[in-house]
Structures are given as C-alpha cells and as structure tokens.
C-alpha cells in the first residue's frame, strides 16, 4: 500500500497581482510505501514544507495530483488517519497542555474516555505529564515540540507528517523523539519526516529523498545514497610496496595497511586483488566505500547549483 503518492505535482506561488511567480515544486513524483520512515531532505526553500501542505490540502496544487493512504488529498475526511506536526506550530496560548490535546483530539474525531486515556498516555510518552495543567504560553520551545508530537499522535494515525520535529529540542530529547518514531514504525505506522538535521535522518529513516528547488534530486535508502560507486576500502596485513599496484589505479592510503581504491569496474578490482595476493600480502577486508549522508547531500546540492 502506498502511504503517499504524487504525480506531476507542481506548485507555483504568485505574489499580489501575479507580478512575481515562485515555483515551489516542479513536476514532482513520489511514492512512499506504508510502514516506512521516509526522510525528505533539502536546503531552506527547497519545497519540503510546500509538499506536506499540498499533501494535507493546506495548499492547493497548480497542476498534478496527490494521494495519501490511496485517497485523494483533497478529501478532508482521510485526515482522521493522519497526524501532523507543522514547523513553528502555534497553539491557543490560553489552553493548558492537556486542553490542547483535548481540542485537537476532538477535532480529529476522538471522544470520551478513550480521549482522556490517550491524553494521559501521550503526555507520559513525551514526558509532559507534570506540565499538563500548565498553560502552553509558559512552555519552552522543546516542550512545545514534544506537545506537538503528542498532538500529532492523538488520533492514533496511520501516517504522520513531521516538519522539523526536533527543532529546539536538546540532544536527550532528540534521542527520545527518535525512539518514539522508531516505536511508531514498529507499530506499522508510516512517518514522513522533513528535516535538515542529516545525522538524525540517517539514524532512523528507511528511505530518503533529496529535494532542491522543487525537484527531487535523488531518492533511495540511506545505503544506496551514501554508497560511493566503484570505490573500495582495502585492508591488508602489510603496507603495499608494489609500484605496479599503485600505478594501476587511483590508490590512496587511508592509514597503515588501509587503502582506498577507485576502479572502473569489478574486473579491475579483481585484478588489483590478484596483484596484492601475488605479491604475498594478505587481504583482511574489502569494503565498498561510503560517504556520510551530509557529504553526499552537500555534493549533490553543489552539483545541482552548478
């Protein structure tokens, strides 16, 4: 089942009197399978928030179509199965923590004792139980984020959109939020995560999309995206001394007995392995080289900017 599906989604914002036009999304296609944590990365202004707003019917597409949980995004009733934590969310300042959850719970169609139980359960999960009687205008940024997360889960949604969920949260709080998200995933929920904290996305997402200027640059698993094609790390028992091996390809010494090698194909890699073995050296490890998500992201964005 597809949790999110877009086809040719385009959004052009026009300024007053249509003098200035900004293309926030351009012919955007995306499929996200249910049960995954999908991370959408991109620099500021890439179109990440616009995409979520289009999926939730907060903004309307210029052209193209969007579906959530295999239902047209314009059908507001499907939102009973959706949770959303917007970036810079605002709650009525005169409400207390538990009242905020009650308000949005009721709007989501949750009622009665179940709602009361759910509120207590969620406040305990996000560690705000002792603040439930405090007005939200007295909450810190981190507390607001945690309350926002509880709000997004109040209707036990199948699909949760989180826009910068760890913004303003301390490292311990971030870890706690990550654990909550993983727990939700284990329960079969789909999580659509917008973030610019690449290290965090790397830790929890199953698939990642990289968006820039309204276009998807790449999409895949973290492994697929960070893999350096035709570049391997070779660890040998003794340092390589054979001139022929070094000359045959782009060899770089990483540390004692550890080298990175760029090859054109597997044949060339095997040739190098043969040469090392002929020289009498013992191979301990051969691994495909990987970059961090951050390195890959920066190089991809730089490439796109050229």
């Amino acid at each position: 089942m597809k949790a999110v599906e877009t086809k040719g989604l385009t959004k052009i914002y026009s300024s007053s009197f249509g003098r200035k036009k900004v293309q926030a999304l351009s012919d955007f296609n995306l499929d996200v399978e249910a049960g995954l944590i999908f991370g959408l990365l991109g620099p500021n202004g890439a179109g990440k928030t616009t995409l979520i707003k289009l999926l939730l019917g907060i903004t309307f597409p210029t052209t193209g179509s969007a579906k959530i949980l295999e239902t047209d995004a314009s059908d507001y009733k499907i939102k009973s199965k959706i949770g959303y934590l917007p970036e810079n969310h605002k709650y009525p300042p005169y409400l207390k923590g538990e009242e905020v959850l009650k308000y949005f719970g009721k709007l989501s169609g949750v009622k009665g004792e179940y709602l009361d139980r759910k509120i207590d359960e969620l406040l305990s999960i996000v560690k705000l139980s002792q603040w439930k009687k405090t007005k939200v205008k007295n909450y810190s940024k981190g507390m607001m984020q945690r309350l926002g997360l509880a709000q997004a889960m109040i209707n036990d949604p199948d699909l949760i959109f989180l826009d910068e969920p760890t913004d303003g949260v301390d490292p311990v709080g971030r870890k706690e939020i990550r654990d909550i998200l993983l727990e939700l995933k284990n329960k079969g929920k789909t999580i659509f995560l917008n973030s610019h904290l690449l290290s965090e996305v790397e830790l929890i997402t199953d698939r990642v999309g990289i968006l820039n200027k309204g276009k998807m640059l790449r999409e895949g698993t973290v492994n697929e995206l960070t893999l350096k094609k035709e570049e391997y790390k070779i660890v040998v028992e003794n340092n390589l001394s054979s001139e022929s091996v070094f000359n045959s390809s782009a060899f770089t010494k990483i540390s004692d007995g550890s080298y990175s090698v760029k090859v054109t194909d597997l044949k060339e890699l095997n040739k190098i392995i043969d040469q090392i073995r002929i020289s009498g050296n013992l191979i301990k490890e051969i691994l495909p080289m990987k970059s961090t998500l951050e390195e890959m992201f920066i190089s991809l964005i730089n490439e796109a900017e050229k």
Partner: protein, 273 residues
Amino acid sequence: MHNIWITTLYTIREALARKVFIFFLGLSALAIILTAVVVNVLNDAALVSGVNPEYNSMILEEIAASIQLIIITPLANLCLLLAIFSTASFIPNMLEKGNIDLLLSKPVSRPQLLFGKFLGGFLVVLLNLTFLVAGVWLVIAVRFGAFNFPFLTIILSVSFTFAVLYSIMILLGVVTQGSMAGMMVAYFIFLILSPLLSAGRNQLGEFITSDILKGIIDFFYYIIPKTAELMGNITIDLALGKGINNWQPVLTSFAFMAAAITYAVYIFNKKDF
C-alpha cells in the same frame, strides 16, 4: 455538525480568555446594579400623582417600559461597539501561520471551521446581551411589577444586527488575514453609512431633488446592511410589543449576511496557507 460545534465551543473559550469580554460582562453587571439603584429611589406615588388610581398599574407599566428603553438603547449600542472590537480578531487568529496549518490538517472542512467561528462569536455576544438585557428587564419588572416580556426581544434584534456586522468582519478577515479592515468597515457601516443612508432615504428624501442622487442612495441603501433601522425603529417597536412593521430592513440585511458568509467560504475554500 460535530466539527462546527467543537469550533464553536473553542471560539467561546477563546472569547472568555480575552479580557475585553470580562470587561463587557463587568459593564453589563454594573449597568444592572445602577439600574437597580436608580429605580429603587423612584417614588411610585410621585410618578402616578394626578392620575386616576384606576390607571395606576397601566401608568407604571408604561413608565417601566420607557425606563427600560432609555437605559437599554444606549447600552445596546455600546455593547455592539464592544462586540465588534472583541470579535474582530477571531478569524485572523485562526488564520495565523502555525495555527491554520494544524486546523486544516484535521478532518474538518474549511466551511465547518468558518461556520464554527461565526457561531462562536455570535453565541458569545448573544450570551452577553442576554445577561445585560434580561438583567435590566428583571430589575425594572420586579420594581414596578410590570413584566413586559416583549422587551426581551431586544436581545434578538441586537444580536441579529451584530451577526450582520460580524459577517463583514469574517469576510474581510478571510481576505486580508487581519482584523483592522473588518473592524473599520463594520464601524463605518454601523456608525456612519447606515444612519446616513437611512436618513438620506427617509428624513432627507424630500430635500433631494436629483433623481441620480436618489438612485445612488437607493442602490446603496438596499445593498448595505440596515443597522440604523435594526437598532432604531425595529428594536424599539419590538421592545414595546408592536412587532415588526417593515420586514424589508431585516430581510435585506439577512441577504447581505448570507452573501458575505457565502463569499467568505468561497474565498477560504480556495486560499493557500
């Protein structure tokens, strides 16, 4: 209906959190207390002196109705001014970035949100007016033993006038996402335009000789809500139990309100946030 009701309840909650509504209630309570003090010092014997004792109760009833009107008419106008001021921010607050995103992410349709806000604002003003009018009515009624029930219909006429002006604030709130334009237009219609058009058509009609000017006045008279008539003759006639003699101001104002709300829903349905 459930979603409209939830939005309505939380709009009332929002209103109660605003100090202006507490001020509104406090003012009403003060007016009721002052009325009680004033009518208590009135001397029945002096009021009906020189009148055949047979007609005493009838005279006292008329006196009671007159005092009620004298007290309530300016207070109702003041209430309306306060109501416009205190409800003007309901729509802009709802449309604030970070809040509207959340609301629209819930299984609530846009018209439901707007109707909920309309109903919430209306009910808050209705409650306040009921407290004020019923309070003043009760004090005077008990004092003179004259229970002039038609007087209570003032609650309906003033609330209806507010609803018409509130529809303008909702429309302009959706369009501008601010409270100033709606508030200014509502005040302008209530304090200047409607009284001017009403006077231009009724009292000054015979002095206007130009047919074009008469046509222009008529055009605007019919499309602009007739708050002057609603708060004037219609409210007084209702209070005195005479009923509504001329339905035209009520019907055309109602049509204006319906059109304003429909257009607000139309724009809200198409708006990107």
